[in-house]
């Protein structure tokens, strides 16, 4: 196995120490940071996402893989900056106002980051204005989470706020959370819906055309 393949495999197995070690070796051997990122780390996370959708791994395995990815990125980031490698796009993510659920949103953020996106995590209980600000600061995608039937209507407030700020045209809005579905996304004028963290990555890619 090449170093890049070992990095990819290490991500799939969630072995943070091995991944960091191999990334360091690859950098020392003169491998480009971009290749390490795309063919090692991101490719590994993509496989983890597929396995999640196939039902062969679950949230714990995804978390462990994401943690390995995170540690490797800390090491790799200066090299990516130096090489001028840009993130695919900037995504602002948050749980909507009134809703304090963190876990699902965090999972989506981790998977997006693991797929090469830059994440602005706005947290939980996020008012619409904060999403509007994030778009003004360059977020191309807004990802909204709600776990409660009582808070999902607040997703529409974000779509409306973007509309009123005249920013709706330059933003893609994706929604997710237990009570949410495609029908609801259509109803409130969101661009997309994803049922889990892995399909969220695919959906975001599709929405921005990469």
């Amino acid at each position: 196995m090449s170093l890049i393949e070992e990095i990819r495999e290490g991500i799939i197995q969630g072995q943070a120490n091995i991944v960091v070690d191999k990334v360091r070796q690859a950098l020392e051997a003169g491998e480009s940071a971009e290749v390490i990122l795309n063919q090692g780390l991101i490719s590994g996370m993509q496989r983890v996402g597929e396995m999640f959708e196939e039902g062969t791994v679950f949230v714990p395995e995804m978390l462990i893989a994401a943690r390995a990815m995170d540690k490797a990125l800390t090491l790799l980031r200066p090299h990516l900056v130096e090489a001028g490698v840009q993130p695919i796009a900037k995504v602002a993510i948050g749980t909507v106002k009134g809703d304090l659920h963190d876990i699902g949103k965090k999972l989506v953020a981790m998977m997006l980051e693991g797929s090469g996106f830059e994440i602005m995590d706005l947290g939980i209980n996020v008012p619409p204005e904060k999403f509007v600000d994030a778009v003004r600061q360059g977020a191309q995608v807004v990802a909204l989470s709600a776990l409660l039937t009582t808070t999902m209507p607040n997703m529409k407030d974000v779509v409306d706020a973007l509309d009123q700020a005249g920013l709706r045209g330059q933003t893609r809005v994706i929604i997710g959370g237990a009570p949410v579905n495609q029908n609801y996304a259509d109803q409130i004028g969101a661009d997309g819906f994803a049922p889990d963290a892995s399909s969220a990555v695919r959906k975001v890619r599709e929405l921005i055309g990469v």
């Binding site: 679950f58 304090l100 039937t149 009582t150 999902m152 209507p153 607040n154 009570p179 109803q187």
Partner: protein
């Protein structure tokens, strides 16, 4: 009248548990995003009425309004320091409703997840979680619950922390635990019904099972799988009233009382001993469940 859950389980084939509390509170005017537990001190009569309506519908077990009553959850609302007060009040309200009932009613102290991911996957240390659960359990017992009811769990390590916390605070009080199977037949954290049933049997609980999730069908499958894995287990089924849909900004759960009656009969056939409902259900749903089970058990 009050009752012991162990005794009721001895004397009756199936027991009727109550339905959803949160969705009832929101229907009664609780503001979006505010802590339901706050109503235990601000609107105790509203909470008591929900308990009383479930009892009148036939519920033999009622769950206190304390699902989000752990310090971790309350802290998100800036209410961490009121954990003891809000849980104690939750128990006192339910206790008072049970005392006025014409049939024996068990008061169960609801304990939901912390909302945080436990180590090694997240940052919350199991022992810190256990301490928060202990604080909640102590207050619920002080307020008068008969049993501590750990529910809507996804992570077996968090269940263990909750059991540990409850035993620390209230060694003699019986415990039950139910998990939520909403991810391809497993919990969010990948727990299967078979493995969960085996683990929970080993924890010495009075009963265990499944609650919430994606409506009656998926929950019935989980119960069936648990029963086959652990035929001796005393299983609890508490399904949502179907799936939520938005109609003109209003949330509507799609399973009516007749659907929940059929679900109750099937849950009984699948091996459940305690049958109730969860989100989106109302006293009307519980009435239908109670009537269906009385017919099946041939109790007039």
């Amino acid at each position: 009248m009050t009752a012991s859950l162990a005794q009721l389980l001895e004397s009756q084939a199936t027991l009727v548990a109550d339905g959803g509390m949160g969705t009832m509170l929101f229907a009664a005017g609780l503001a979006r995003g505010s802590a339901p537990e706050l109503w235990n001190v601000e609107r105790p009569e509203a909470v008591r009425k929900i308990h009383a309506d479930y009892i009148a519908a036939g519920a033999q077990i009622i769950l206190t309004n304390s699902f989000g009553g752990s310090r971790a959850r309350l802290s998100m609302h800036g209410l961490a320091d009121r954990a003891a007060e809000l849980n104690r009040a939750a128990a006192q309200i339910a206790r008072s409703a049970a005392q006025d009932a014409r049939h024996p009613v068990v008061v169960a102290g609801s304990i939901g997840p912390t909302g945080q991911m436990l180590a090694p996957y997240g940052n919350l240390e199991p022992d810190d979680a256990a301490e928060m659960f202990a604080e909640q359990a102590a207050a619920l017992v002080e307020g008068g619950v008969d049993v501590l009811w750990i529910e809507t769990m996804a992570d077996m390590n968090e269940v263990r922390a909750a059991v540990e916390g409850c035993r620390r605070a209230a060694p003699g009080v019986p415990l039950v635990a139910t998990l939520t199977y909403d991810t391809r037949g497993r919990t969010m954290m990948g727990e299967t019904p078979e493995h969960a049933a085996e683990t929970l049997e080993g924890l010495g609980l009075l009963a265990h099972g499944a609650n919430c999730g994606n409506g009656p069908d998926e929950l019935l499958t989980a119960i069936n799988r648990m029963h086959h894995a652990q035929p001796q287990a005393r299983l609890i089924a508490k399904a949502n009233a179907g799936l939520p849909r938005m109609i003109d900004d209003r949330t509507v759960y799609d399973a009516g009382p007749e659907v929940m009656a059929a679900y109750a009969r099937q849950a009984r056939a699948n091996g459940a001993r305690i049958i109730g409902a969860c989100c989106g259900s109302t006293p009307e749903h519980v009435r239908a469940i109670a009537e269906a089970l009385r017919q099946e058990d041939s109790i007039p």
